[in-house]
Symmetry: C2
Subunit: 236 residues, 2 copies
């Protein structure tokens, strides 16, 4: 039975790293002392070691040990043996490129389908979708594919931002970008605002956090999903 936390952002405004999601983390990883951390997304170009240290500090608060996937000689075996995995945010292109390079996409997908607890924030959530094609990130590396884990039956847009009616900026709004995605793709997209997350248990996908989410489907007007609601029935 799938068991995931798919989180829009690691940090909410004014808060500490992962602070607001601590209780959910503790519940997700309750049956393991050790969590493997995937630091590949390298936010701001931070090193794998430094990023792992940052995650370790946050997990220390819930009494869990973090081990960076980059420290294993055989990352495929490490994922297969993992009792829990957390993928941090950063650049989704860099993350996906590394997941393909180290051939961990398939083992990670299988582990998640087999019930291994998984948590992702931002780029680490993006990869739960069918493809990474609704990321906000810059294409700073060229990954071998845009296909991702597909452990949820839609795509995500983390850090979702509503159009600002007072803006004088002429660049595309997030809503326009997702509409452009739907001129080329049929996959639904969930715009997950900062402070929101999805709790996935088996086939149940529940929206959590204070805010609503925005659901975009091809050929339909986007609409709001209330916090606490299951997304399952919206996606058939």
């Amino acid at each position: 039975m799938k068991n995931l936390l798919v989180v829009s952002t690691s940090t909410v405004y004014g808060g500490e790293y992962l602070d607001y999601i601590t209780d959910e983390m503790a519940e997700l990883f309750k049956d393991t002392e050790e969590v493997i951390f995937i630091p590949y997304a390298r936010p701001g170009g931070i090193s794998h070691d430094s990023y792992t240290e940052k995650a370790a500090k946050a997990f220390d608060k819930i009494g869990k040990k973090i081990i960076g996937l980059h420290t294993f000689e055989d990352p495929i075996a490490a994922i297969k043996d993992a009792k829990g995995v957390f993928t941090g945010g950063g650049n989704t292109f860099v993350l996906v490129n590394a997941l393909y390079k180290f051939e961990v996409i398939q083992p990670l997908r299988e582990a998640i389908f087999n019930g291994m607890p998984y948590m992702g924030t931002s780029a680490g959530s993006n990869i739960c979708g069918v493809s990474m094609q609704t990321t906000n990130d810059m294409p700073i590396v060229y990954p071998p594919s845009f296909k991702t884990l597909g452990v949820i039956p839609f795509n995500l847009n983390p850090h979702y931002l509503d159009p600002d009616p007072t803006s004088k900026h002429m660049g595309e709004t997030r809503e326009t970008r997702i509409a452009e995605f739907h001129t080329q793709n049929t996959i639904p997209v969930v715009g997950l605002r900062e402070g929101s997350w999805l709790r996935v248990k088996g086939d149940d996908i529940i929206l959590k956090g204070d805010l609503d989410a925005r659901l975009f489907k091809q050929g339909q007007k986007p609409y709001e999903i209330s916090s606490g609601k299951a997304l399952n029935s919206e996606l058939v």
Copy 2:
């Protein structure tokens, strides 16, 4: 001798499509009656025909005829014979994918190096750079490569936005994204604010418009370039 207008945005706030750049357009295309329009970037998913109509209306004001590249049976020959080309904005991934599909990247590059007047706005400017890897757009299609025309010796970030000190949004700023690009790439990046453009004549690249631009180089603090200044000496 290269002869280009590399424009951040087609439309400034409160203005009409291409209005603010009309005089520059007239000067760039003064020696031709006809300009080929590349509509491939399809902003908002608009059709090639509708987009070409929109461009035609704007070019009608300077007495030029616009012909959509999509109307030619042989787009490669059309580019080789062109007396002027304008590429409109939209989604850079969709644009670059189509340029590769129709095999016009190389002929367009050659034509520009041979002095054919070229104008690009937004995505159409992005492709003048070495790669499209500093676009703001969503990766809604998977192009065969991120390499672009390379007719200017750096990359562009059009619609450049300064970090907003009052923002409570935790997604990456444009500056952070470009810094992440420089963890993976050495190519300088010019952040071109809306209302700015580059006038390229041969090897001279002059910043025009009311605003300054922001120059990002690997391993250096980003800095401002004043409007009216040549970028040439900044890029050695």
